[in-house]
Amino acid sequence: MENFQMLFHGFTVVLSLQNIGACLLGAVLGLVVGAMPGIGSLAGVALLLPLTYKFNPTTAIIMLGALYYSNMYGGSFSAILLNIPGDSPAVMTALDGYPMATKRKRPGQALFTANMASFVGGTIGMIILTFMGPALADVGLHFGPAEMAVLLLVAMTSIGWLVGSNPTNGVVLSLVGILIASIGMDLQTGSPRFNFGNIYLLGGVKFIPFVIGTVGFAQVMRLMDEKEDTTKSEITEKLTIRGSLLTPHDFKRLLPPAIRSGIMGTFVGVLPGAGATTGAFLGYAMQRAFKNEDPLGSGAVEGIAACEAANNAAAAGSFAPLLALGIPGSGTGAVLLGGLMMWGLNPGPLLFTNEPEFAWGLIASLFLANLLTLIIALGIIPVLIKILSVPVKVIIPIIMVVCLVGGYSDTYSMYGVIIMLISGICGYVLEKSGFSTAPMLLAFVLAPLLEDNMRKAFVISGGSVSGVFFNSAISIVLTVVFIAIAATPIVRAILTKCGVLKVKKAK
């Protein structure tokens, strides 16, 4: 009951004209950028981060939350209308969305189904978040510096392990991200560190240019591969809002899978590295066990509802560890966390106690963003094909300019642009070579927190390693998990060499 009271308090924060306006702006931009082919939610959120400069911290955070959340809606549009998933969670949506739009000649209803299921899944995720966030924070309050340090190590290594095809590469880039974050000032002594005599590096590597480069600019370089691709829709019908409305029977088919997947997706979202994509896959897989009016894969309403509800619920669920423990579940979550920290918000167990306006305002803004995004998503159905048909070769120079001004605006100098350019080139080369950059971003954001906790833990233990990693039951469990995750690539390499494991042949 207390949680609902706090949520109500959050709504009183959110429901000011400026905050509703910021939420609306975030929802519209997130939706359009999420819908555009080739950009994706990670690059979308990164590119739009500088727009929050205008606002006070609470409003900025509300806009960020809306941006992140509405991006999750956008990915399904191109999956349904063009059979091109806008982001990885929408891969499953395409399986039934595209056949429903083309074979069954119901493109509007397919979009409406995706939007409604996203809304239902998201709402379920947010309701669970309302309870789970503070509960996780209560657990987190029992964590001292040692436990937090090991927990952060687990989060970093698990993301490195889960994202991308090669766990070793993921962990290597996590460590590189930590070292990049250590450039600048030592926060505990206030003295320069690893600035190599460069005056600009005294302030460290700036987050916004770094993230815009690593994901946004690198994405533009990758888009050059797709610039000749045509994105012509096979849909000839004119899309209208009235023609897209679902029948009561469609609603009956939509709700049960959306509710089931919404609950499941939320808990998947809480796990580090799992996130919206895993949620969508599991939601779809779970739906196979239930009765479907049409076979899955042939344009079934149930198929679209299951994966869309699951991925939006997972997006909402990932806020629980992010707010309560300061641990994002994905690269996009890491960018969002970086944005929150930039605005002075320190996610962690004390957040709900020390900064309830921020925490509950953000959760309330997610509810508002969910509703606003649904309304906007339904409203733009008639013009969606036009938005999606924007040629990639036209998008490329526009995003380049956004990267340039975004990099500049953070530092008011070309230093930010140069950071953006270098990180962009590195991001492109790394991704092309099979090194996923998401773990590096996550590590870059979490590194100051990890270092602070680790140094405090070693001071408390008087330099004893066992005093840090084995000082309590929580530490022991987390250390065992950390060792298991960290040792997996090495053990796997040894087992492969001994012939116990077989190497997968590339298709």
Binding site: R193, M224, I398, Y412, M454, A493
Partner: protein
């Protein structure tokens, strides 16, 4: 030269671990020998403590990644030369904005890229130009209040 089909192959799966190893070695040597690892008087870690631990881990895992890269049958990664026009164009924009100013530079860039390189119609070029000017001037300059460099020519004229 036809950049669109020109491809270079680079063994980046081997080169990247070498670079990360060197990064680890640099951070280790500065961290351990310049900043120190442990303050034995105050019984606390120094500012080199954390980076040194991470650098050691990075060097060890870089060796593993290097070995994996050597064994990888697809270690040669293909890079299309055309993709590198993007950073080259950005470098030219940085240089140009110092002379002509950032707003003029991005406007000229959009026209040159879309009209000359991509051979798009004037209608598309002008729509893209309007969008870019709305973002740069409308959002960033007027709304967010960010002053972009005007370039030394305009600076000289204004005095």
């Amino acid at each position: 030269m036809d950049l669109k089909n020109k491809v270079i192959k680079v063994p980046t799966k081997i080169i990247i671990p070498v670079i990360t190893f060197i990064i680890g070695a640099i951070f280790f040597s500065i961290g351990a020998f310049e900043y120190g690892f442990w303050d034995s008087v105050g019984q606390k870690p120094t500012k080199g403590f954390f980076p040194v631990i991470i650098a050691v881990g990075l060097m060890a895992l870089s060796v593993l990644a290097f070995v994996n890269g050597l064994r990888d049958k697809n270690k040669m990664v293909e890079f299309r030369l055309e993709n590198w026009l993007v950073p080259i164009a950005l470098i030219l924009m940085i240089l140009s904005s110092m002379v002509f100013g950032l707003v003029l530079t991005v406007a000229a860039f959009i026209v040159i890229w879309l009209k000359v390189y991509e051979k798009q119609s004037w209608k598309i070029v002008l729509i893209a130009l309007a969008i870019v000017l709305f973002i740069v001037v409308g959002c960033f300059n007027i709304w967010l209040g960010i002053d972009f460099p005007m370039g030394f020519i305009l600076d000289m004229i204004i005095g």
